[in-house]
Each structure stands twice: as structure tokens, then as C-alpha cells.
């Protein structure tokens, strides 16, 4: 089997418009959550989110490009340009024929859907723009990315709610690992911060009105975010031969299904996914120094995840660090695992552990080192990234420090 390394990373999210900006914000424990700004926000009871600010699509894309790009596609393209520029790859000939793109995305073009439903239902219009369907389809971002970069290999979109990105990246890893292709572009994107998107989440009564405080005893729910993160996964020898900079090694993954409840998480499902990732990556549990938690800030997730970590790691769970960066960039739903992979890369490559901010009161049911409020320097050899979706679909990635 081939070794798989990451040679490019790109992002745009509430913490920054590039990877360096995002990592700087994570190091400083900055919060990207603020008052939401969009039409009809006053009709919501939840009015905070991790919204991408100071963003003008016209400065990023020309008018012709923008016409078929929903906001989630725009974010994808911005992140992909940064990642592929860093990797220094251009795709032609044999490489173009084999390389593809697998993205995780849950809501698709929800802003497009929201705007056009409003137009036909509320405004009573009987005509919609011809690009509504190609804009809102879940695979639009993957398709536009394949077109811009000439990726002609296997390309598709994975939709598993909050685990979409991790499932997508695990699948991309497997394609490179198994020798199908030397390069895959992967990650995820989401943009549900529109009236209908937030209203739907509001109905479930799991959203916080004031802050995302994962693992803190006074946590009161999740906060939605938006954005994208894209990575270049490359076969190690292919990267080495061309002298590419290696950010980290993707060592393995596991996927499990709880097969129990459509919204409540399961300790067993989460634990099996973490154990499976360790086994696939051939690492001992005491080698794991950092876990980027799913850590949504809901009562149910954080205690279940903490119990699963304690079960998997036993005595070592007191020595490892686990943080939820959702406290800063909020929950990007289908795109969240991709942005969170950046925190794993920072831990492995830079030796800096992103904190769980907003941490105010210890919870005996989450008695782990959650790196409260302030980033920490530490050498980490192996990191896990957890994602546990509604519907009980779990995906955990294992990354290893390179060099």
C-alpha cells in the first residue's frame, strides 16, 4: 500500500480567508462567531454564527464565473486555489487523467434554494434563473473544481451530515493509498447561513443563542458556521520526487455506523471509529497526542464523546489533549472536518495545539484535557480528527507528523 501525505491546504472560514490567517486565529484563541447578517434574520430566535466576513465574491471571481457559483462553491474554489498553489501541481496528461476530487458537503446550494423558494413562494414570481439547478446541486462544487484544475479522475460528493468531510477525505486517502491515483483533491464546504438554513436548525432546539462552549459544564448548544477547506492528498514517492513540502501524513481512517438513533450519538459507535482508525494507521493508542474533537457544544455530544475517548484510551486519556475548534469557527456541518484537519496539521507540523475557547466550568462528564482557552505548545506524533454525524455515521482520520 502507498503512503499518503498532504502537500497543500487551503481554506476560507469565519477565522480567516487563508490557512495562515486561520491558524493564527486558532493560535490566538480568537472567536469567529458573531451576530448573523442576512435577510429576515430578525425572524430567527438564533442570531449568531460563524459567518465569513469582509467577503466580496466580485473580487474573487468574474461575473461569468459567479453566475453558476452558489456561496458553497465559491468557498470551495477559493480554498482549492490556495491548496493547489501550495502543492505546486498542475494537472495535465496522465496525472490529470487519474487525479480527481472528493468533497464533503451536506446542504448543497442552500442559499440558492432559499432565495429561489422565497422568490416563487413569497414574492409570487413564476420565473427562476436558468442556473438554479446547477447552482444548488450538491456536486456543483466538486464539478467546478474538477473543471478549473483539469481533474479527470474519480470525482464525487459525499453527504453524511456533520461527518461529510471526514468521509470524503477518508475516501480520497483510500484512493491514493490503494494506488488508483497519485493525487486527490479533497475536503469539504458548507454555506447554510441563510434564513431557511438557520430556521431549520432552530427547530431542533439544540442551538445556542450566545456561544459555543464545548466540554464546559455551562454549554448550551451548537453554533453554525460556514466556509471550506481543501487539501491535496499525494502519494509519498510522487511528492518526494518533485520535492514538495509535506504538511503531514495521513496514516489511516475508520468509518462506523451507530445503527441506533437519528440524532442521539452513541458512545460505542464513536469508540469503534477511533479504535478502527488507530488499527488502520497501525499506531498504538499511547502514541496519540492530540484529538480534534467533534465537540459540538451540545449536552449530548460532548459527554458521549468524552466517554468514548476514555473507553478507547484508558489511562492514556489523561495524558492526551483534545480540543474543539468549533468554539472558534463554529460548526461547518458538512465542511467541518476539513477545517478541523487544519488544527491537526498545526499540532503535528508546528507543535501548537489549538484551544477550546469559551471554556468556563469543568464538567465531570467531560473530564479530559480540553486545552481550555489558551493554545499550547507540545510535540505531537499522531493526531486524530473525529466526526460523528446525525444519523449515527462516524468517520475518524489518523494523521502522523512527517519527518
Amino acid at each position: 500500500m502507498k503512503r499518503v501525505v498532504i502537500t497543500g491546504a487551503g481554506t476560507i472560514n469565519a477565522l480567516g480567508a487563508t490557512v495562515p490567517q486561520t491558524l493564527e486565529a486558532m493560535r490566538e484563541g480568537r472567536c469567529g462567531i458573531s451576530e448573523l447578517e442576512f435577510r429576515d434574520v430578525e425572524r430567527l430566535s438564533i442570531r449568531i454564527g460563524g459567518q465569513v466576513r469582509n467577503y466580496d465574491p466580485e473580487t474573487r471571481f468574474n461575473r461569468q464565473q459567479l453566475a453558476p457559483f452558489d456561496r458553497f462553491t465559491q468557498f470551495t474554489m477559493i480554498a482549492a486555489r490556495e491548496a493547489i498553489a501550495q502543492a505546486g501541481l498542475s494537472f495535465s496528461g496522465e496525472l490529470a487523467a487519474r487525479a480527481g476530487v472528493i468533497l464533503g458537503n451536506s446542504g448543497g446550494g442552500m442559499t440558492t434554494l432559499d432565495e429561489n423558494y422565497r422568490s416563487v413562494y413569497e414574492d409570487g414570481k413564476n420565473r427562476v434563473h436558468p442556473f438554479v439547478v446547477p447552482k444548488l446541486m450538491n456536486n456543483a462544487a466538486a464539478s467546478h473544481l474538477s473543471m478549473e484544475f483539469n481533474l479527470k479522475g474519480p470525482s464525487f460528493t459525499v453527504s453524511t451530515a456533520c461527518a461529510s468531510s471526514n468521509h470524503a477525505m477518508a475516501q480520497a486517502f483510500q484512493m491514493v493509498h490503494g494506488g488508483i491515483t497519485p493525487v486527490m483533491v479533497t475536503g469539504g464546504s458548507e454555506s447554510m447561513l441563510c434564513f431557511g438554513g438557520v430556521k431549520a436548525w432552530e427547530g431542533l432546539r439544540v442551538m445556542s443563542r450566545d456561544a459555543c462552549r464545548p466540554f464546559s459544564a455551562n454549554r448550551n448548544g451548537m453554533v453554525q458556521g460556514e466556509g471550506a477547506a481543501i487539501f491535496v492528498f499525494e502519494e509519498y514517492q510522487h511528492a518526494r520526487k518533485r520535492g514538495a513540502e509535506i504538511l503531514a501524513e495521513v496514516a489511516g481512517f475508520a468509518m462506523t455506523s451507530d445503527a441506533s438513533d437519528i440524532v442521539m450519538p452513541s458512545k460505542q459507535g464513536a469508540a469503534r471509529a477511533m479504535l478502527g482508525a488507530l488499527k488502520d494507521a497501525r499506531v498504538n493508542r499511547d502514541e496519540v497526542g492530540y484529538i480534534n474533537a467533534h465537540g459540538t457544544g451540545t449536552a449530548a455530544n460532548d459527554k458521549t464523546e468524552s466517554a468514548a475517548v476514555a473507553d478507547v484510551f484508558g489511562a492514556h486519556s489523561d495524558r492526551l489533549m483534545i480540543s474543539s475548534t468549533k468554539s472558534m469557527h463554529a460548526h461547518l456541518i458538512g465542511g467541518t472536518g476539513a477545517v478541523e484537519l487544519l488544527a491537526c496539521i498545526m499540532a503535528l507540523r508546528d507543535g501548537i495545539i489549538a484551544p477550546t475557547i469559551g471554556y468556563e466550568e469543568p464538567d465531570p462528564e467531560c473530564a479530559l484535557d480540553v486545552v481550555p482557552n489558551v493554545a499550547r505548545e507540545a510535540r505531537v506524533d499522531v493526531a486524530l480528527s473525529n466526526a460523528f454525524a446525525f444519523g449515527g455515521l462516524n468517520a475518524v482520520l489518523a494523521l502522523r507528523r512527517f519527518g
Partner: protein
């Protein structure tokens, strides 16, 4: 129908029971209503009475709205209907 009977009818429907099988001192747990069932019942109550119930599933005990038994739920709804009418 009184507020009490309308709330009991909603809870009974969620629990798939006859309203006569729901007693005032029952907890939701007694009736087999889980957290998602509770959120659904609250939605049905809000629709029935055209009110807003302040309830966050992450901190059920923090809400002003007491869900510890059928009778406390009814008392809470009676108060909200009065306040929000």
C-alpha cells in the same frame, strides 16, 4: 376542551396512548417519550396554542419551562397562554 385536555391529547398522541392512560403525575420518561419526542411535543403545543415555548434541549432544567411531569407541563402552558395572549 380545556388547556389541560388539549395538552394531554398532544402528549398522548406522541406517546401512542389513549388520553385516559396519561395521568398528571406521569413523567415523559414514564410515557416513553424521548428527547426527540419531547421536542416534537413542544412543537405541537406551540402550533396548537400559537405560543412560543422557551426550551433548549441542551439545558432542559435551565428553561423557565418545567418538563418534569405532565402536570408541570400543563401549568407552564397555561402560564404561557395567559402571558402571550
Amino acid at each position: 376542551m380545556s388547556i389541560k385536555d388539549r395538552v394531554i391529547a398532544i402528549i398522548a398522541e406522541q406517546a401512542v396512548l389513549d388520553p385516559s392512560d396519561v395521568s398528571l403525575d406521569n413523567t415523559l420518561d414514564d410515557l416513553g417519550i424521548d428527547s426527540l419526542g419531547l421536542v416534537e411535543s413542544i412543537f405541537a403545543i406551540e402550533e396548537e396554542f400559537d405560543i412560543t415555548v422557551p426550551f433548549n434541549a441542551n439545558e432542559p432544567s435551565e428553561s423557565d419551562f418545567d418538563i418534569s411531569s405532565v402536570s408541570t407541563i400543563i401549568a407552564g402552558i397555561e402560564r404561557l397562554v395567559k402571558d402571550q395572549s
